[in-house]
């Protein structure tokens, strides 16, 4: 009798009913606020992230309308400044990081073969914090009092004297608040990856996407605290006159150091998960093991380290000593080496393999073209003298859109097409997907490539208008028209997402014949993710299972309560079982309490105290041992 048949034998519909009962999220409107399952929370992060992407994109189109002609009066300067600030805040804080976390939260536990994240309630809490923060920022925009100082908010421009409105207060407190969400997600992802891998999935068998999320999470843990510290310092400067950044008593450059010590790793926090997505897609669509697994892992880790040593290249023009600055040229160009290793490992993996040209792979191929251009212009701007010519011009705008859209958004869209069937049970339309890819790819290059030239011709960033005699008008009009094409390209994918919900071809468990464990369960996964926790025998578990004709599984995990298998850090040996909490409303209440503390600080100094007391109450409720006591009773009876 093969093990597969054995499973059939001990399987019973009664047990599946029990598992579903235990793991399902409560239905209904009020039930919605109590979900803690990783699939629910991950999906919410992804959907909310794309909503902010669309909002940020609309802001970008408004800017392009304003800049289409010289001395245009479509937007007034204050509104334009608010819009470009909100575009940056949206794309960096409200879209890029949360959506990567969203994909990680949804995919990682499935990839690891476990039933939930380590801290499901914290997970839900992180989502509500993110939602409240994003809503607060957009509220400030709709009230016409959004920050108008750029997403980097350099003091003294951002201090109370030069930006008297409430916009920067919103920025300073909401950014701090928002990063709580990033930090809790990072901590749980690290614990989940370290302690919940399916038995046999030792570190050297972990999928590359999991490695990339691990690196991203560690980067978040080290990069976000400087940002939170510095944004609290800015808030204190503004509300109680702390003068951290006042020239003379403090130093405006201190802000820039702290901000970019966060800000540069932030770019890699966005980019590293995308690298993991690319590896997943290439493995699946070449149907072969990837070349250079170890080299790829080491490159990811190296990127994570080097990413913290580059922040000064945002500050070359601030008058730092040139010799010191030149060391950062060397450090900045060094990061091209792990990137080069990765690009060529992928190339070697693709070479001659007759890959399947489905939409996800197209986005990856698009990534190669765009990202290599962005990387090369990135090396150019790493040079101190060249940077003094292009810093804060449209050349830089072109460069970082090439890196961020090419390096992160293209793989992200590839990932969306790739994992959509897992999330919804249906495939997205290939025809519309390919059309969307080509529109996006062409629209992107026509929009952003000419910006290199505009920057070299002297056009600064963050200008709401420019004079006609400078001769930038024609190219700006061209860029604005192209941005429409780019928007249509993105829109096509969103249309595809909605159409395919109902009309998409049913996907089945594993529509791409992929290798990793998330494809080894139903699409969409049942609330308990896996009927049996699988045992992993190699780097490509589903392919190995196919080869061996039998699926070894773990038994002995209780089905009558939420329980997970905990395994050892290096080799993923089973260690213990862990009971998980179920649906609860306390994460929402705690998020609201913390939100009142932070948000209220904009209006009055008493609110942090109020928020503290409310949070304390919420935490007491969260940890109230009622449920445990009840279960102890049940167990003894």
């Amino acid at each position: 009798m093969t093990s597969h048949e054995r499973i059939q034998a001990i399987d019973s519909s009664e047990e599946i009913r029990l598992l579903t009962e235990v793991w399902r999220s409560p239905p209904g409107f009020f039930g919605w606020f109590t979900h803690v399952n990783q699939t629910s929370v991950g999906k919410r992060f992804i959907i909310t992230g794309f909503v902010f992407f669309i909002l940020g994109g609309v802001l970008a189109l408004l800017m392009r309308l304003q800049l289409a002609t010289p001395e245009n009066e479509f937007l007034n300067p204050d509104l334009y400044n608010q819009i470009f600030t909100m575009h940056g805040i949206t794309m960096m804080f409200l879209f890029a990081v949360p959506i990567m976390e969203g994909f990680a939260i949804y995919i990682i536990p499935l990839m690891l073969g476990t039933r939930d994240m380590s801290f499901p309630r914290l997970n839900a809490f992180g989502y509500y914090v993110y939602l409240i923060a994003g809503a607060a920022m957009y509220l400030s925009l709709f009230l016409g009092m959004a920050p108008a100082v750029g997403w980097f908010a350099y003091p003294p421009l951002a201090d109370a004297k030069h930006s008297p409105g409430m916009g920067v207060d919103f920025y300073a407190t909401v950014v701090t608040f928002m990063e709580i969400s990033a930090l809790v997600a990072a901590v749980e992802l690290i614990v989940t990856i370290f302690k919940q891998r399916a038995p046999g999935m030792s570190l050297n068998r972990m999928p590359l996407f999991v490695w990339s999320i691990l690196v991203m999470s560690f980067m978040i843990v080290f990069a976000m605290p400087p940002l939170m510290v510095t944004s609290i310092m800015l808030a204190l400067d503004r509300t109680v006159g702390a003068h951290f950044f006042t020239p003379g008593s403090g130093d405006p450059l201190l802000w820039q150091h702290l901000f970019w010590f966060f800000g540069h790793p932030e770019v890699y926090i966005i980019f590293v998960p995308a690298l993991g997505m690319i590896s997943s897609i290439i493995i699946t669509f070449t149907r072969r093991p990837i070349f250079g697994y170890t080299a790829l892992v080491l490159s990811l880790v190296a990127t994570g380290f080097i990413g913290f040593g580059l922040w000064v290249h945002h500050m070359y023009t601030t008058g730092l000593p040139h010799l010191a600055a030149n060391f950062f040229t060397a450090a900045s160009s060094m990061i091209a080496i792990p990137s080069g290793v990765q690009v060529f490992c992928w190339l070697a993996s693709l070479w001659g393999t007759r890959p399947r040209f489905a939409t996800p792979l197209l986005y990856v191929l698009g990534f190669f073209f765009i990202f290599v251009i962005g990387g090369l212009s990135g090396v150019m701007v790493a040079s101190v003298p060249f940077d003094t010519q292009v810093h804060d011009t449209y050349f830089l705008v072109a460069h970082f859109h090439y890196v961020l859209i090419g390096g992160a958004v293209f793989p992200l869209f590839g990932g969306l097409y790739y994992w959509y069937p897992k999330l919804t049970g249906r495939l997205m339309s290939e025809g519309l997907g390919k059309a969307s890819f080509w529109l996006t790819f062409i629209g992107f290059n026509l929009t952003f490539f000419p910006m290199h030239y505009l920057g070299l011709q002297g056009m600064p960033r963050r200008v709401y208008t420019y004079l006609e005699p400078l001769g930038w008008g024609d190219l700006n009009l061209f860029v604005s028209l192209s941005s429409g094409l780019l928007a249509v390209g993105f829109l096509a994918t969103f249309v595809n997402v909605f159409r395919s919900l109902k009309r998409g071809r049913p996907a089945g468990d594993n529509p791409w014949d992929a290798d990793s464990l998330e494809w080894g369960t139903a699409s969409p996964p049942p609330p308990y993710n896996f009927r049996y926790i699988p045992v992993v025998m190699g780097r490509y578990p589903l392919w190995e299972h196919l080869k061996n004709q039998e699926v070894p599984v773990v038994t002995g995990i209780r089905s009558d309560r939420r329980e997970l298998l905990v395994t050892s850090l290096l080799d993923a040996h089973p260690e213990s079982r862990s009971k998980m909490p179920g649906p609860t409303v306390w994460p929402l209440l705690l998020a609201l309490a913390v939100g009142i503390g932070f948000g209220g600080f904009i209006f009055h100094n008493i609110f942090p105290v109020v928020g503290f007391i409310l949070s304390f109450i919420a935490i007491v409720g969260w940890f109230w041992p009622r449920q445990l006591a009840r279960e102890a009773r049940e167990e003894s009876s």
């Binding site: 300067p77 204050d78 400044n81 108008a148 100082v149 350099y154 003294p156 421009l157 030069h162 020239p247 130093d251 405006p252 072969r288 070349f291 250079g292 023009t317 601030t318 008058g319 040139h322 030149n326 040229t329 160009s333 080496i337 080069g340 290793v341 060529f344 490992c345 190339l347 070697a348 993996s349 693709l350 070479w351 001659g352 393999t353 007759r354 190669f368 290599v372 090369l376 090396v379 150019m380 040079s383 003298p385 060249f386 940077d387 003094t388 010519q389 810093h391 804060d392 030239y453 070299l456 011709q457 002297g458 600064p460 963050r462 709401y464 400078l470 001769g471 008008g473 190219l475 061209f478």
Partner: protein, 342 residues
């Protein structure tokens, strides 16, 4: 039928490509351009840029060639023919490690050598100009070799051709950044700090500069002009700038001066040689000689000046100059007076 359609498309395509090329090559004025260098610093950087662009283009071509060759090679064959382990390893080692290390080493050294030109120490007797960034205009002082201010102007910098000019860059309110792309890279102006830079023009000419660090509402309209003049011309310009304004020698001008001194203008502006000593706005002592108004926002013509005095918020919304209501005759006399201050 088909062929005509193809031909039509082709010619349309060619037309579009031509017009794009024209846009790229001939549209920009070149007066604020980093790739139309007019001085040694900008020239070195532009040269470095073209070399980097050439190398980067070659690398891009190589990577794309490998990608397309690798992907489509497999596609044409019936069987997939992946690289062997050794081939893959060599590909990654050579093109992913050895070549990048070599190129980047060269790049870093080349960059540092270029930077030596940018950071070159200037002779002690080099002309020194102190420039202070304000929201949203530029205060310019010429210093003698004992670092005393000898002349003051705004939003316009005259320099002698062929001589290095040392810049002392300061700010009092928020961070600005000083940039004349035709001559040199940018340097930030940070409150509480004095940054230094230098530039030099090799030919006489006028070059536009603009603030490149976001500094608030009217960041976009904070520009200036640099005028590079032959040494003799520059010296006579500087000598004239050092003088106080001449007393008006004409009843209309005298009336204009009276209007000026009686108005709120004197709260902020100075005209040296008169009672107007305000220092929070541009010094107007030799205002009539300047080419633009409102930090290079509009030409310094009679009409624009009238508009600027009556309704500065219409031209540059949010700037700190209040509107001044004047009777038509007074305004006319004031315009004559201001433009007489050469």
């Amino acid at each position: 039928m088909t062929s005509t359609r193809v031909g039509f498309n082709r010619s349309r395509l060619r037309g579009a490509a031509l017009s794009l090329a024209c846009v790229l090559l001939c549209a920009c004025s070149g007066q604020q351009s980093a790739i139309t260098p007019q001085g040694p610093v900008a020239d070195r950087i532009a040269w470095f840029f073209w070399i980097m662009t050439g190398v980067a283009g070659a690398i891009l071509a190589l990577v794309l060639f490998l990608l397309l060759a690798g992907v489509f090679r497999g596609r044409q064959q019936a069987q997939s023919k992946p690289l062997t382990y050794i081939q893959s390893r060599n590909l990654v080692l050579v093109s992913g490690v050895v070549m990048p290390v070599a190129v980047l080493l060269g790049f870093t050294l080349f960059s540092a050598m270029t930077d030596r030109v940018v950071a070159k120490p200037l002779p002690a007797d080099a002309l020194t100009v102190e420039i202070i960034g304000h929201q949203w205009w530029w205060e310019v002082h010429y210093l003698d070799n004992r670092q005393r201010r000898i002349a003051t102007t705004a939003n316009e910098i005259h320099i002698p051709v062929g001589r290095p000019v040392r810049l002392l860059l300061k700010a009092t309110d928020v961070i600005h950044s000083f940039w004349v792309p035709n001559l040199s890279g940018k340097t930030d102006m940070i409150p509480g700090k004095t940054n230094t830079g230098w530039l030099q023009a090799d030919q006489p000419g006028t070059f536009r500069g603009q603030c490149v660090e976001f500094c608030g509402l009217q960041h976009a309209r904070m520009a200036f002009w640099v005028e590079a003049q032959p040494a003799g011309e520059f010296q006579s310009w500087l000598a004239r700038q050092r003088e106080p304004a001449a007393a008006p020698d004409d009843p209309v001008l005298a009336r204009g001066q009276a209007v000026f001194l009686a108005s709120q203008c004197v709260m902020c502006h100075a005209v040296r040689g008169t009672r107007a000593l305000g220092r929070v706005a541009p010094d107007l002592t030799h205002f009539g000689g300047r080419r633009t108004l409102a930090a290079a926002s509009v030409p310094n013509s009679r009409g624009h000046l009238a508009g600027w005095i009556l309704d500065p918020q219409g031209i540059k919304p949010g700037n700190f100059m209040p509107p001044t209501a004047l009777a038509p005759d007074d305004l006319s006399a004031l315009l004559d007076y201001l433009h007489s201050l050469k």
